[in-house]
């Protein structure tokens, strides 16, 4: 289940007027990618695609901020990529290919975008928010995944996000 650690360090950072305009698009995209809708997808493939996009987006967001908390965000980014790789395997199992990944922060869902574009003072709090979001997404996904092997993989990913949430809360001193 190990995936590649796709470093996003080389990815362009574009936070100008264009980015502001695009963030409106990101917000619209988030309607399709937020926790509610990720598990609202009626079919297994659609649900898995939503989860895959969330993990890839999270990996990009952590990559953008890895310099601020390398010991926390480095493993978190690597694990998000590992999760995406495992979900890609599940997508193949249901007969779907892996879509084109998000490339810049403008392609991300709201929570990941907020983390990717955080000021240093807010970065830990926003990382906590995004992991809370991921825990909710997977809690919502488990009842909707019919395949036993796929749902067990999703369960281990839920466990992973719960652990990252614990570590981030502790670092942010949030209870």
């Amino acid at each position: 289940m190990n995936g590649r650690d796709e470093s996003s360090a080389a990815e362009p950072r574009r936070f100008g007027r264009r980015a502001a305009l695009a963030s409106a698009g990101a917000a619209a995209a988030a309607v399709a990618l937020n926790p509610g809708s990720a598990f609202a997808a009626s079919d297994e493939g659609g649900l898995l695609l939503g989860l895959w996009r969330r993990e890839k987006g999270l990996a990009i967001a952590y990559g953008q901020q890895v310099h601020t908390q390398p010991e926390l965000f480095g493993p978190a980014r690597r694990h998000a990529n590992d999760h995406a790789a495992a979900i890609a395997t599940a997508l193949a199992a249901v007969g779907l290919g892996t879509p084109k990944p998000p490339w810049t922060t403008n392609d991300l869902d709201v929570a990941a975008h907020r983390l990717a574009t955080s000021r240093p003072a807010d970065v830990l709090a926003n990382a906590v928010l995004v992991e809370e979001d991921m825990v909710d997404v997977y809690k919502g996904a488990l009842p909707a995944l019919p395949d036993a092997k796929i749902v067990m993989t999703a369960a281990t990913i839920l466990a992973s996000h719960a652990q990252h949430l614990f570590v981030l809360r502790r670092a942010a001193q949030v209870t």
Binding site: M1, D82, L142, M152, A155, L158, A159
Partner: protein
Amino acid sequence: MVTRRALLGAGTLLLVGCGPPDEPEVNAANVWGEQLRASQAALAAYPSISLRSAAAKRVRQLESQAGATGTVPTATRSLQTALEAERVALQTHVAAVGLLEDRASRELLASLIAGTAEAVSALRAELGEPPIVDAFPGQRNRP
């Protein structure tokens, strides 16, 4: 020439051959009993620390689901024993997700998995170990 009897026989064979594969039937009560015992074993291993109350809450959730408490396991109380027992409980809950398909069961298991995974990290931190060691906690034969 193919007789009607032969065709009927062939149809019967087809029906037998195309039936669902023999899968062991899942006994939900047994699965919940296993979850309860795993979480009780973890709770029994906790020393008197604040993390214990969350473990007790998980046991209470399972007691109402499992319907019976059975024999409560005993254990040597230590952080290390609690960590090992919570790791086993996490693996048990993840395995159960693959066995129980109804929404209510999956929702309860999701809550237990998130809480138990957090407990594993918290216990590791208490022991001075790295709180996260794997991208897929709860898989069998993984840390």
